[in-house]
Each structure stands twice: as structure tokens, then as C-alpha cells.
């Protein structure tokens, strides 16, 4: 009798152990059928948002490389202007890409090579003078990407004539041309590599990895999204220049500082990207597919709780409306009336609470992945 019971217990225990162990694996994703198709959400993100964004970005960066080639062959006012326009077009698309830090984007430190600002003009100048640099180096993160180009295209001198002198008549004009060229080429090649990866192996592994684990695609992207909203969007674009993290406002910390009147355009583009992702709106065409709003609605039918997706969408709209009232140049806005800037920050901040507290609670996704034991 006793032996049978013990045998039974062992069998039970080992079955449970197998379940326990295999639940740590990543291969169980496809069989889930609880009423919400997570795979469909991931493929919407991949097919209709992430890949089209990278495609567009790659196209815009190729155009920028072409303009750059024309410009360094013949540095004149109209070629400079064309180069600037292509930079602006690419920078706008970048706002849709910055939140996705998965796959080789994460492995290659892509985001930190594309948009770290304020750019470090001393480092840039040194690189130009020495002609000996590794643009991939962490030390050069603040001397590359869109912010470095911002300086190279708008910040070298006070007027276009002065700027053009660096590329034409100055003694080391070749150095300037080379650095401008290397910066631009690198941005394009980095993006190309990521796009290729997404179009080949990565897309499928991304879509199939529906686990709720630290390495599951949903968890990775949601954490990236929230990190971007809090850091890349809230702090970098608004909080830091408005002086929310320092005793005084810092107008020179705005995005696209040298271009001047471009920071608001970029911020509005970013709000758009945030709204599109949250609602699963296709980058091309704008059709809505599955995304976090639907996932929250689905979980809400289980929980019978607050209508979180509406609350969050309302907060995004409130932020957008407030940004629309700001000066085209955030630097001027901070200098003239930094209060309007901090007010914008506060509205965005409430969104952080909704995303980080309410949404993560509903999704039961961990924000930190501390693998310590729980109670």
C-alpha cells in the first residue's frame, strides 16, 4: 500500500517536474489558443510596422547617401540644401524605428549609433582632425548618427556660406567630406543589415516566440516600447532640455538642435509612431491590426476592469495636442517659456504611469526581469 502510494507520488511529481521544466523552454508558443492570437499580433508588428519602417528608413537613407555623394562632389548651396532635406526625411522615419531594439538592432547597439544627442562636437572635431576613428566604438556614440549630421550640416558655421567653406575652400575640406561620407554610409549600412535580417531568418523566429518569458518577443518589444516612451520620447525630447533633470533648463539638449526649427516636427512624428504601434496601425496604408490595445481589451474581458486602451490613447492624444502648441524650435521654446515644455513633460509623464503601472499589471509582464525568487 505504502509503496504504491510512494510510487504514485513519484510519478505525479515527475510529470509535474517535466511540465515545470519544459515551461522554461521557448518552443511551446504555437499551440496557444486562449482567445487571443499573440502570433497574429507579432506578425502584425513585424509585417505591417517594423519591416515597412526599416524599408522606408533604408530607402530614405539610400537617398541621403546619394545626396551626400552629389554634395561632396560639388559642395554648393543647392546641394547642401538637398542633402539637408534628405537628412530631414530620413530623420522623420527614424522616429518610427527608434522604439524597436530587438534582434541585431540590439546586438549591434544600433540605436546608440543612430540618435544619441546632444552630439559631442569636440569628439567630432577630433575625429575629423585625426582621420583615425572607429565609428562603431561606444566612445563615438555621441559623434555619429543623425545628431552628428545635424552638426555637420547646420552647426559648423553661422551661415550656409561659412558651412560650405568647410567642405570646399578650407585646408582640410577632404577630412570634412570623408567624415560626412563615413557617417552617412554607416547609417545606411547598419540599417540595411537590420532590414536584411528581418526579411530573412529573424521575422519567423520573432513571430513564433510568443512565450511570456524574459526572451519572449512580446515582452521584449513591450519593454522596448515603454523604455522608449519614458527615455527616448519623454526624457530626451522634453524632460532634459526643459530642465526636469537638472537645476536649470538646457536648451542646447534638444533633438536637431543645429537645424533649429525641426525638433517639433520630429516630436510629432514620434507621437504618431507611438500611437501607431500601440494601436497596430500599418506604417503603409494605416490599416489597423492586432496590437497592445486589442490585447488589453482581451484581458479586460477576463478582468472586467478599467478600459485601459482608451485611457492610454486619450493620454497620447493629450500629449499630441500639447506638443502642437509648442514652438517649432524646442530650443527657443525652452529659452522663452520652459514652463510650457515642463507642462508637456507632465502630460507625457501620466502616460508613463498608465504604460508602466497599469498596462504592465494587466499584461503581467515584468519590467525588469530580476530572476530572483518570489514568495
Amino acid at each position: 500500500m505504502m509503496k504504491k502510494i510512494i510510487l504514485g507520488l513519484f510519478t505525479l511529481a515527475s510529470v509535474m517536474m517535466i511540465v515545470a521544466c519544459s515551461s522554461d523552454d521557448n518552443d511551446s508558443g504555437n499551440s496557444v489558443n486562449d482567445g487571443f492570437d499573440r502570433s497574429a499580433m507579432l506578425s502584425n508588428w513585424a509585417n505591417n510596422i517594423i519591416i515597412p519602417v526599416y524599408e522606408d528608413l533604408d530607402t530614405k537613407l539610400e537617398a541621403m547617401v546619394a545626396q551626400k555623394n552629389i554634395f561632396i562632389a560639388e559642395p554648393n548651396t543647392s546641394n547642401l540644401e538637398n542633402m539637408r532635406t534628405s537628412w530631414k526625411e530620413a530623420y522623420k522615419v527614424w522616429q518610427h524605428a527608434e522604439m524597436f531594439n530587438v534582434g541585431i538592432a540590439e546586438n549591434t547597439n544600433y540605436i546608440f549609433q543612430m540618435n544619441v544627442y546632444p552630439t559631442n562636437t569636440v569628439d567630432i572635431q577630433q575625429n575629423i582632425d585625426n582621420q583615425n576613428y572607429d565609428l562603431a566604438s561606444v566612445n563615438n556614440n555621441d559623434a555619429v548618427g543623425f545628431p552628428a549630421l545635424d552638426y555637420m550640416l547646420y552647426g559648423l558655421g553661422d551661415s550656409d556660406v561659412e558651412i560650405l567653406e568647410f567642405y570646399s575652400t578650407s585646408a582640410d575640406s577632404n577630412n570634412y567630406k570623408t567624415y560626412l561620407s563615413d557617417l552617412t554610409d554607416r547609417m545606411e549600412s547598419l540599417t540595411q543589415a537590420i532590414l536584411d535580417d528581418w526579411k530573412n531568418a529573424y521575422r519567423d523566429s520573432f513571430v513564433n516566440n510568443t512565450d511570456n518569458s524574459a526572451t519572449g518577443s512580446i515582452n521584449l518589444v513591450v519593454n522596448d516600447f515603454i523604455f522608449y516612451y519614458e527615455k527616448g520620447f519623454r526624457a530626451n525630447k522634453f524632460g532634459i532640455p526643459a530642465g526636469n533633470f537638472s537645476p536649470n533648463p538646457l536648451p542646447d539638449r534638444v533633438e536637431a538642435f543645429y537645424a533649429g526649427d525641426f525638433s517639433k516636427t520630429l516630436a510629432l512624428e514620434a507621437v504618431d509612431a507611438i500611437k501607431n504601434f500601440f494601436n497596430g496601425r500599418a506604417y503603409v496604408g494605416g490599416n489597423e491590426g492586432r496590437s497592445l490595445d486589442d490585447y488589453l481589451d482581451f484581458l479586460n474581458t477576463i478582468k472586467d476592469g478599467e478600459d485601459l486602451s482608451t485611457l492610454i490613447n486619450n493620454q497620447f492624444v493629450a500629449a499630441e495636442n500639447k506638443i502642437n502648441t509648442l514652438n517649432d524650435s524646442f530650443a527657443e521654446q525652452v529659452e522663452n517659456n520652459s514652463v510650457a515644455m515642463t507642462e508637456t513633460f507632465d502630460i507625457i509623464q501620466l502616460g508613463v504611469v498608465f504604460l508602466k503601472v497599469d498596462m504592465l499589471q494587466a499584461l503581467d509582464i515584468s519590467v525588469d526581469y530580476v530572476d530572483a525568487d518570489g514568495d
Binding site: 511551446s28 504611469v353 503601472v357 525588469d368 530572483a372 518570489g374
Partner: protein, 454 residues
């Protein structure tokens, strides 16, 4: 009554159950320490963070840099010695001290089951757990087949308190009538094999789990106590703990409870276990000889019993200390710890600290990741005592950087058991003017709902 108690104290039973418990407990602790170390948690939890959250009155307990490893070595070796019954009394004292020191280094890592281990090891200091089948027996060339019954019963009582109070804590409206927080946690286990896709999102399943969890905790001590239901109860114990292990990251705890529950079985079962271990050891030609069996001497029993009576009175009262504080316990967490309140809350928060210079009327916000690990930040943002301690740390830090005069405020939001996030701490209170004490914290904003129950 008193006579009953006195004759109870003289009752003697086989020493085998306590010996088996000692071996199981020691081995489990030894494995736990190795597991903790191998996961790199010593660095991650105790060495990497710049700042550690202390228990009130125990601010002097801190990680000791590289010497922290030594504490873990002492803890691991003493656990192994406990299992072997080698220099038992010294080992269990060292284990209790080192383990409790580790737990007190940073309350970020507080877990009820760590508290449980501290309590059991304290209890074991006073128990003759090396009376039988221990290396001490071989050294002293004597062993005791019988020990006072109460010594084994204290362990049973401790286990019963843990379960029963965990059950009492589940008697609240969120757990029973909203199936919270399981309603949040279970659907996110959609990726479990077999049961993930079809069971975890079903509402009835959330209620079944909530109610059966409550009934299990309240009834299991009694089911284990009565001989007729004992085997059934033990099957339940194994099933319940393994199942919770499948669902939640709870480390070694389920295995410790399963092994611990064996103590409810009769001596006969424990003799079988010891015989099994003996057989295994015989394979290695380990067979001690010349150990005489003697009658257990009841010297110094009175002071020990007094200590243990006080210990258990405290154990029974302490979880109810929350009644001295205003409600809501889950929201304010005054009297929440050390009360066997396990898995009752899904609580998330966000705390944004504001450093103000009142003279210049300037302020700036703090980036918490500059000072805290993400685990610390997570714990800090939902618990008022953490928020206060962190505010004072920030105050000291920024003062030392020359920011003066200085005030620190917090804008914080907390969501509890699926409710929408609400403001948590009064954003108009300068936390540097508030101090930790056992008094209720007046600067916690009221909870805009009602959770009924214990």
C-alpha cells in the same frame, strides 16, 4: 490544565522524525546556498547595488563587500554540518545567525519563506535534533532513541502556523470574490504546455484556484495531524507545491515545505528513511560502531520551554499587528511583512522623486536607475517604508553634492490587484522631514476602494 501540560512535557517519543527533519532541512539549505551563489545573486543583489534598504533598527546590517562571500560560506557549511549532525548546536546557531544576517542586509529580497527559515533555524537551536543518527552521536559514543514529544511538536506547530495564517490572509474580498490577483497572473501563463492555452484564461479556473488555495492553507495542518487523512494530505502537499512551482518562480520553497511536512508522519516512516540512508552509506562502507543508546536527560528544560512559549505567543500575535494601523493593509503595508501574507497582491508602482531647492524655487527629477537596481526600484515604488528610506538616501546624496537647502518630494502611483493606478504618496510632503518609526505614516494617500476581510 497545568498538570496536563506538565505530563505532556514529560511525554517521550522516538527521536527519528526530528533527525530526518534535521537532515532534510540542512541539505535543503545547503543546496539553496549553492543555488543562490551559482546564479550570481550574491553579486547581483548584495554587491552591485550602491544602496541597500534596511529594516527599521537594523540599519547596521549591511553587505560587507567581498566578505559577504564569507557569510555565505559560513551559512552553507553550517547548513551541511546541521544535516550531518556534526557540532550540531554550534552549527545551527551559526546557520541561524548567518542566514538571518543575509536576509537583513537588504529588505528588497524579503520573502516569507526566508523568514520561515530564520524562524525554524532559531527554533532548532533549542531542539535535540542531533540526538539520533548524527555524527555527534559517533563522537560522543552515545545516542538517544527517545526525546521529549514537545520538541517535535514545535516544528509541527511552526508549519501549522505558516499554513493556517497564509489561509487566514486569503479570507479577503479580493482573493475570494474577485479571484485577484490570480486573475491577472494565471492568464499570463498561457505558454505552459498542456494547460496553458485552454485553462489559464478561464474565469472559473481562477476562482477554483483561489478557493482551493484558501481551503488548502487552512485545512492542511489538520489533515496532516490526523493519522487517517495524513497520506491524503501529503499527496495534496506534494501536488500543491509542485503545481505552484510550475506556475510561479518560487525557488526552493516548495521542496522545503514538502520535505518539512514529512515530520507529521509516524516514527516508523522515519526509521525507514534512516534505514534507507544507512543502506546507501553501507555501499560506501560507512557504518559507525560502538554507539550506546541512553536515556535523554531533561536538563535545563524549563528556560528552554519558557523561551519557546514566548516565541510562539509572538508568532501567533505578530501577524495581527496590522489592526493597530489604519486600513487598507494591502495599500499601506503597515504590518504586512512577517505575517505569512503570500501571493496576495499584484502591486505595481511608479515613483518619481523631485529634488527641490525651496530658496531658488528650482527643482529636478531623479533618475532612479542611477541609484537602484531594477529589482530595488520595483520594490521601492510600492512600499512606503522603502520610499521614505530612499528619499533620505537621496537627500544625503544631493546634500553631499552641495545642493542646499533641499527638500524631496515624490510623485507616485500604485495599482493594486487590477485596479487603476492611483496617487500613492502625498506629493506635497517633504519626505526629508518624515522619519521611520512604528507609528502610522500620515503621508500615504487614502486607498479609493475597500477590501473586506482579515
Amino acid at each position: 490544565m497545568l498538570n496536563h501540560f506538565k505530563s505532556y512535557l514529560h511525554k517521550q517519543v522516538s527521536a527519528a522524525p526530528l533527525a530526518v527533519f534535521r537532515i532534510g532541512f540542512g541539505l535543503m539549505m545547503f543546496i539553496s546556498i549553492i543555488r543562490f551563489w551559482s546564479y550570481g545573486w550574491i553579486e547581483k543583489l548584495y554587491l552591485n547595488p550602491k544602496f541597500h534598504f534596511s529594516y527599521y533598527g537594523f540599519e547596521w546590517v549591511k553587505p560587507l563587500g567581498d566578505w559577504t562571500y564569507l557569510i555565505f560560506i559560513i551559512c552553507g557549511i553550517s547548513a551541511l554540518f546541521v544535516a550531518l549532525g556534526l557540532k550540531y548546536r554550534l552549527s545551527i546557531v551559526l546557520f541561524f545567525l548567518s542566514f538571518t544576517y543575509i536576509e537583513f542586509m537588504d529588505k528588497t529580497t524579503y520573502l516569507n519563506h526566508y523568514y520561515f527559515i530564520s524562524l525554524v533555524s532559531f527554533l532548532m537551536i533549542f531542539l535535540p535534533a542531533n540526538a539520533f543518527y548524527s555524527i555527534d552521536n559517533i563522537i560522543r559514543k552515545k545516542q538517544y532513541a527517545l526525546i521529549p514529544k514537545w520538541t517535535i511538536d514545535t516544528i509541527k506547530l511552526m508549519l501549522a502556523i505558516v499554513y493556517f495564517y497564509a489561509g487566514l490572509a486569503k479570507l479577503n474580498s479580493d482573493w475570494l470574490f474577485k479571484a485577484m490577483p490570480l486573475k491577472i497572473w494565471l492568464p499570463s501563463k498561457y505558454d505552459l504546455p498542456l494547460i496553458g492555452g485552454n485553462l489559464m484564461h478561464q474565469e472559473w479556473f481562477h476562482y477554483v484556484m483561489s478557493w482551493s488555495g484558501m481551503l488548502y492553507d487552512l485545512m492542511i495542518p489538520f489533515l496532516l495531524l490526523y493519522k487517517r487523512t495524513r497520506i491524503f494530505a501529503f499527496i495534496l502537499v506534494v501536488f500543491f507545491h509542485i503545481f505552484t512551482r510550475v506556475l510561479f518562480p518560487i525557488g526552493m520553497f516548495p521542496y522545503i515545505m514538502i520535505i518539512g511536512s514529512l515530520i507529521f508522519f509516524d516514527a516508523e516512516v522515519h526509521h525507514k528513511i534512516i534505514n534507507f540512508i544507512k543502506k546507501m552509506l553501507q555501499l560506501f562502507n560507512i557504518e559507525p560502531k560502538g554507539v550506546k543508546t541512553e536515556a535523554y536527560l531533561k536538563s535545563r528544560q524549563k528556560p528552554v520551554i519558557l523561551v519557546l512559549v514566548i516565541f510562539f505567543v509572538i508568532q501567533i500575535i505578530l501577524p495581527f499587528r496590522y489592526v493597530l494601523y489604519p486600513s487598507e493593509l494591502f495599500w499601506r503595508e503597515e504590518g504586512y511583512r512577517f505575517s505569512w501574507r503570500v501571493m496576495l497582491m499584484e502591486k505595481r508602482g511608479y515613483a518619481n522623486f523631485k529634488v527641490v531647492n525651496p530658496e531658488k524655487e528650482t527643482y529636478f527629477y531623479v533618475d532612479n536607475s542611477d541609484f537602484l537596481s531594477s529589482f530595488q526600484e520595483k520594490q521601492m515604488s510600492t512600499q512606503p517604508d522603502f520610499i521614505l528610506e530612499y528619499a533620505h538616501y537621496l537627500g544625503d546624496h544631493f546634500k553631499s553634492q552641495g545642493h542646499q537647502p533641499i527638500e524631496i518630494y515624490v510623485e507616485s502611483y500604485v495599482a493594486l490587484n487590477g485596479r487603476r493606478s492611483q496617487p500613492y504618496i502625498d506629493p506635497g510632503v517633504d519626505l526629508l522631514k518624515q522619519y521611520e518609526s512604528f507609528k502610522s505614516k500620515t503621508w500615504i494617500l487614502p486607498f479609493k476602494d475597500d477590501i473586506k476581510g482579515l
